[in-house]
């Protein structure tokens, strides 16, 4: 397969290398600063760890745009001896998502977790480490280093959930932790087998050795790694830990969990199956199996989202469903429609991230303002929190896939790809998934506009006010999700440039 590996790759200018390193190390050192007592080090750590990220990414994006994907050999040791970073359009896109969603969610969290005081002291070092860990994960080209990164993501994300402090949150954290540790072990066992069979841990070099290794060892290794990632990525039917964990976490944490943290596992599944596995390994069956799981997620998550009585649980089950789209594209990897499918899948990654983060921030504002997120308590929301409702609705438009949102574009591309490649069952699943999404989003909106029975509703006086900036954070993300539907042409071109090579059909 024609991966970027076969094209000659130059190491980029030192400026790009330094920008890549800074993207990982600024939040890391920021976390160290935030450990120190007092407000100043905490604020310094947050500002220095998060604010420069977009600027650095502009440099990285321009370099990748002009010169193509690049490596950075850490310590100057070439793989397989050392560890290298790899940056291509997909990685750049993920880094942008971390910078934007992580940044806006951080602004939202600034009010609930004031830096340097009380719970803020516990919150910010973990948050910055999580951002750093995700950036490191998206850049790492080494299977074992990715194991360490995955553990770091898990061990920073779970305490952030537990910071909610409720019994539900602690229980959800415990369950998440046990399953995540199991998932890491499965992943590690697979990596151990791959190293033994190929003598390398480099994600992009393993493919050279896989052809010579016994197929059974390779199949088992890939199956174990995938199983671990499916469990970490909460892919149906291994999603059981997700809804409670995402729904009970503090608002900004929920946003980052749903928009970014579960995507780390999906991202690695992409890397594994679309970059590492060469054509010699019969991958068609595995990709179809993954897509079947995706279809299951889309339908099951959609139905369960429809049955929830609480806003945050609806949104959490919606995440279970929307992750399904990301796996649906895989069987099309050998078809001529693959570039379109890849664009659609990647665009879904982006637009779902923005929309879901917006929904969770809006839900956090509503929960904080009304003291409840039961759908039955949301009536007359248009009078009580019009802007939060507006953000929720705009993000909902993207989740449903209505024009002109980013979600619409993603789903349109996916439909086109299934149509062209003649994968009719995928087309049927896509349509059904979108209908379910429309149903659960409308159900939320209907609940907020209801006016019946004023005696049952809580009096408006109970409404607490929300800092305007927190409302603005949710709105901003929702606007970005919508805006992703416009101005998409250069973005899609960029994504297409990074399309993983296609298989020659058997």
């Amino acid at each position: 397969m024609a991966t970027p590996l076969q094209t000659p790759l130059q190491t980029h200018s030192t400026m790009t290398s330094e920008a890549l390193v800074a993207v990982i190390f600024l939040p890391l050192l920021g976390a160290c600063a935030a450990v120190m007592p007092g407000r100043f080090p905490a604020r310094l750590g947050i500002v220095a760890g998060l604010l420069p990220l977009p600027g650095l990414l502009v440099a990285v994006t321009l370099a990748v745009w002009h010169d193509g994907p690049a490596w950075l050999e850490l310590g100057g040791w070439a793989a397989p001896l050392g560890i290298r970073l790899f940056v291509d359009p997909l990685a750049v896109l993920m880094l942008w998502m971390v910078a934007i969603i992580g940044g806006i969610a951080a602004a939202h969290a600034w009010f609930d977790f004031p830096p340097g005081t009380g719970t803020g002291q516990k919150f910010w070092p973990l948050w910055l480490l999580l951002i750093s860990a995700m950036n490191a994960l998206f850049l790492s080209a080494d299977l074992f280093n990715l194991y360490v990164c995955l553990e770091l993501v898990t061990l920073t994300a779970i305490p952030l959930i537990a910071l909610a402090g409720s019994k539900t949150a602690i229980r959800a954290s415990m369950r998440y932790l046990l399953l995540a540790l199991l998932a890491s072990l499965l992943y590690l066992l697979g990596v151990a087998l791959l190293y033994n069979a190929t003598g390398t841990l480099d994600l992009y070099l393993v493919s050279d050795g896989l052809g010579a290794a016994p197929p059974m060892v390779v199949t088992t290794a890939l199956a174990l790694i995938s199983l671990g990632l499916l469990l970490k990525g909460a892919v149906f039917p291994l999603h059981i830990w997700l809804p409670q964990a995402h729904a009970s976490a503090p608002g900004p944490v929920s946003a980052v969990l749903s928009a970014l943290v579960v995507k780390t596992a999906i991202y690695l599944l992409y890397r594994l199956w679309l970059w590492s596995v060469p054509a010699t390994v019969a991958a068609e069956g595995a990709l179809t199996l993954l897509a079947v799981l995706g279809a299951g997620a889309l339908l099951y998550g959609g139905v369960l989202a429809l049955l929830q009585e609480r806003l945050k649980l609806v949104i959490a089950y919606s995440t279970v469903a929307q992750l399904g789209y990301l796996l649906l594209i895989l069987p099309m990897a050998s078809s001529s429609a693959w570039p379109i499918a890849w664009q659609g899948g990647t665009y879904q990654l982006l637009s779902h991230g923005l929309a879901k983060a917006a929904m969770f921030l809006a839900a956090a504002n509503i929960l904080h303002g009304l003291g409840s997120d039961r759908l039955s308590d949301l009536q007359r929301l248009d009078q009580r929190q019009p802007l939060s409702l507006f953000a929720l609705a705009m993000a909902g438009v993207s989740i449903m896939g209505l024009p002109p949102s980013g979600g619409f574009l993603a789903k349109w591309l996916l439909l086109e790809a299934t149509w062209r490649s003649g994968q009719w069952w995928l087309l049927a699943v896509l349509v059904a998934g979108s209908l379910l999404a429309a149903a659960y989003v409308f159900r939320i909106l209907a609940a907020t506009l209801r006016r019946d029975d004023p005696t049952e509703a809580r009096p408006a006086a109970e409404t607490r006010s929300i800092p305007a900036a927190q409302t603005a954070c949710a709105l901003l993300l929702a606007l970005l999700a919508l805006a992703a539907g416009f101005a998409a042409a250069p973005l899609l071109e960029f994504i297409e440039a990074g399309t993983p090579g296609t298989w020659s059909s058997p």
Binding site: E151, T168, L177, L178, L189, I240
Partner: protein, 113 residues
């Protein structure tokens, strides 16, 4: 084939299986943590045995991986124990709910309010 290597591969497999069984049937979180650590031990043992430990000094890369793995395991265990203490403080017992599926469906966030 080196008989020592065979012995340790069998041991690794046994520990992994016993750990998995224990994880699935344990009624206490603390014991589930122990079993996860057992499974990890099995994987480490396999890694070193396949890395040639039976014949001479094993491949240094798996050794470094296991060393890193041991430190990560103690970190994860330490955090899990802290979380367990908090959980038991809130609930008064250390069982983890088994029926996760129905649980996740029916559970409400009652204590969030």
């Amino acid at each position: 084939m080196n008989p020592t290597a065979v012995i340790y591969v069998l041991t690794a497999a046994a520990i992994f299986g016993i750990g998995l069984y224990g994880l699935l049937v344990s009624r206490q979180i603390l014991r589930q943590l122990l079993t996860i650590n057992l499974m990890g031990g099995g994987i480490f043992l396999l890694l070193i045995t396949l890395g040639g430990g039976a014949e001479g000094p094993p491949d240094p890369v798996p050794q470094a991986m296991v060393l890193t793995g041991i430190v990560i395991a103690v970190s994860a265990t330490a955090f899990a124990l802290a979380l367990l203490l908090r959980w038991q403080e809130l609930s008064g017992s250390s069982e983890v709910d088994g029926d996760a599926v129905t649980d996740a469906v029916t559970d409400a966030l009652d204590d969030d309010e």
